[in-house]
């Protein structure tokens, strides 16, 4: 049985197609990640799966219940931790969880023990009676996540669980997510634009860009499919670049090349033998190479090869948008 299944899921807002004919399924007990830049359609898909938005066409099922036709049943099965922290600042940590327990109809006689249990898990027991105003960003996020799993949902949705947190806190959150997954054996569906996060947490990843899924596979398989190694070349200028490129493609072991003006990324299977050949060709063409590096492929490289652009390009745009949204909030 699949925990999540979508069939040709599509959502458009006017002329903009946010989610374009997406079909995928997530196995029970799996950690599945949507990786993509902002505006890729991750949040929209998640909002459809959590019954907040109705799809324009196609179908989505959670534990075999339709998110439109059987929304109430779906809501009983899911936990949803939003991108923004949503805990009530005026309430204490415990009161927040109590509210969450009541919203999710946890039987009265179990509420207290469940709250104690998750507080323990996220290591906030000693702060439970403090107002959330006094919590740090990481603590708030932990409390939010705790609220999402209090009722032991079959499927836990985590929308960008570590966005805006520093690297130590992020790692800590990853630990909690792994711990939760192990302890409660729930299916986790998360979205992220951090490669490292997807790599670290997910059993399988769907790379999503422009509302479409480009590829779904485990991080390992994706990296292996890239070739064993990645060679990055930065040239002094772009002269003779095209003939350079066409000759590089003829080298044995070179599987794929990505180009970005004076930066070339080669996905290769036998890097140490490729590098001398690169120098040979470049000296024939009188091309000056500034730097060259040989690395193991990362998910960054995977993303680049499937979408033709780096995820960071969009992040800067994303940050601008966030900044804009923040200013708008402050003004109103």
């Amino acid at each position: 049985m699949y925990s999540i299944e979508t069939k040709s899921l599509t959502k458009s807002f006017g002329d903009v197609i946010a989610v374009n004919d997406i079909s995928f399924s997530v196995n029970s007990g799996e950690i599945f990640g949507f990786l993509g830049p902002n505006g890729a359609g991750k949040s929209t898909t998640m909002m459809i799966l959590t019954t907040l938005l109705k799809p324009t066409s196609g179908q989505a099922l959670i534990s075999e219940f339709d998110v439109v036709g059987n929304a109430k049943k779906v809501r009983e099965k899911i936990g949803y931790v939003q991108q923004e922290t949503t805990v009530d600042e005026y309430l204490t940590g415990r009161e927040n969880l109590l509210l969450q327990a009541k919203l999710n109809h946890i039987p009265k006689n179990e509420i207290n023990s469940r709250i104690d249990e998750v507080l323990e898990l996220i290591e906030l027991s000693d702060k439970q009676n403090d107002s959330v105003v006094t919590y740090s960003g990481g603590m708030r996020k932990r409390l939010d996540i705790a609220g999402g799993l209090l009722h032991r949902p079959k499927v836990l949705f985590l929308d960008e669980p570590t966005v805006g947190l520093d690297i130590q806190t992020r790692r800590k959150i990853w630990e909690y997510i792994k711990k939760i997954h192990k302890e409660f054996d729930m299916t986790i569906f998360l979205s992220t634009h951090y490669m490292e996060e997807a790599d670290n947490l997910c059993d399988r990843i769907g790379i999503i860009d422009g509302g479409k899924i480009q590829v779904i596979d485990s991080p390992e398989n994706m990296k292996n499919a890239m070739g064993n190694e990645v060679i990055s070349i930065i040239m002094d200028d772009a002269h003779n670049r095209d003939s350079f490129l066409s000759q590089l493609k003829t080298i044995e072991f070179v599987k794929n090349i990505n180009e970005d003006s004076t930066k070339l990324t080669l996905f290769v299977s036998n890097g140490t033998q490729v590098i001398p050949k690169i120098f040979q060709i470049s000296s024939e063409l009188k091309i000056k190479i500034n730097t060259i590096s040989l690395t193991r492929p990362t998910l960054d490289d995977v993303f680049l090869s499937y979408t033709g652009h780096e995820i960071r390009d969009d992040n800067s745009n994303f940050n601008r948008k966030r900044e804009h949204a923040k200013m708008k909030r402050l003004r109103s």
Binding site: M47, D88, Y90, E95, L103, N104, S332
Partner: protein, 261 residues
């Protein structure tokens, strides 16, 4: 039905918790009605002969005190729904919407919390009125008066919750609320007797549920019935208003929150 009650109570509990933690607001919100009763009540004290001409023999301030109690209820409850906008922006709403509770319960929980808060504010104003010497011959009447204020605020908060669910921004919300609040207050016998209104205004006032609420509270506070409207008719209209608002607010709220924000 049972779970609707439970869910409504959950939201009610949350709203009251939030209210309790922002206590500074209580006093600030009392300033305006206090000014009304102290300043306007005295400015217009010379209109006593007018009031007496329709059979009210107390002072003007005693005539308008019930009006100011209702003013407090009107504005507390009509402003009360504004946090719906915050809830939608900061994610609490999505949290509630993805939980198994019904959408109506969210609206009803907010409305009942707002009405209780409005009644508390109104009782403080009643206290101020008594402190500045308004005569209140039958203190036992405070119970039915508060019941009426709670009922009325429940209906009125429906307006607020509907407007907040429909408005996408603070600006729209406040624009709409200011457009509605003041006229509904002015077009009632809160400050002047119905009999002294020009005919066309009296007709409009008689379509206004605020009118019947003011008449009820005034009758309970001062013992003077006014305008020949029987107490049972006023009560019936108030109940009908509240029931319609509960139904309408649940419907509009559910419809609006299902749309993307």
């Amino acid at each position: 039905m049972n779970s609707l009650m439970y869910d409504t109570y959950t939201i009610f509990w949350r709203e009251l918790k939030r209210y309790k933690k922002s206590r500074s607001g209580v006093l600030i919100r009392l300033i305006q009605p206090a000014i009304w009763i102290i300043v306007v009540g005295n400015i217009f004290s010379g209109t006593q002969p007018l009031i007496q001409s329709v059979g009210f023999d107390g002072e003007y301030i005693e005539f308008m005190a019930p009006g100011v109690i209702i003013l407090t209820a009107i504005f507390t409850s009509i402003f009360g729904g504004v946090n719906t906008l915050w809830d939608r922006r900061y994610g609490f709403m999505n949290k509630a919407l993805t939980s198994p509770i019904s959408r109506s319960a969210i609206a009803l929980g907010k409305m009942s919390a707002i009405s209780l808060i409005a009644a508390m504010q109104a009782s403080l104003i009643l206290g101020i009125a008594l402190a500045i010497g308004v005569n209140f011959p039958n203190p036992i009447m405070i119970a039915p008066i508060m019941a009426i204020v709670i009922l009325f605020s429940l209906g009125f908060s429906g307006i607020s919750v509907m407007v907040a669910a429909t408005a996408k921004s603070q600006e729209t919300f406040w624009g709409m609320i200011n457009f509605l609040g003041m006229p509904l207050f002015m077009l009632s016998p809160a400050l002047f007797p119905l009999e002294l209104l020009p005919n066309w205004l009296a007709v409009i006032a008689k379509l206004n549920p605020v009118t019947y609420t003011v008449l009820l509270v005034r009758e309970l506070m001062t013992g003077v019935s006014e305008g020949g409207i029987p107490i049972l008719l006023s009560l019936g209209i108030l109940f009908a208003f509240v029931l319609v608002m509960i139904g309408l607010a649940s419907y509009v709220f559910t419809r609006e929150v299902n749309k993307p924000f």
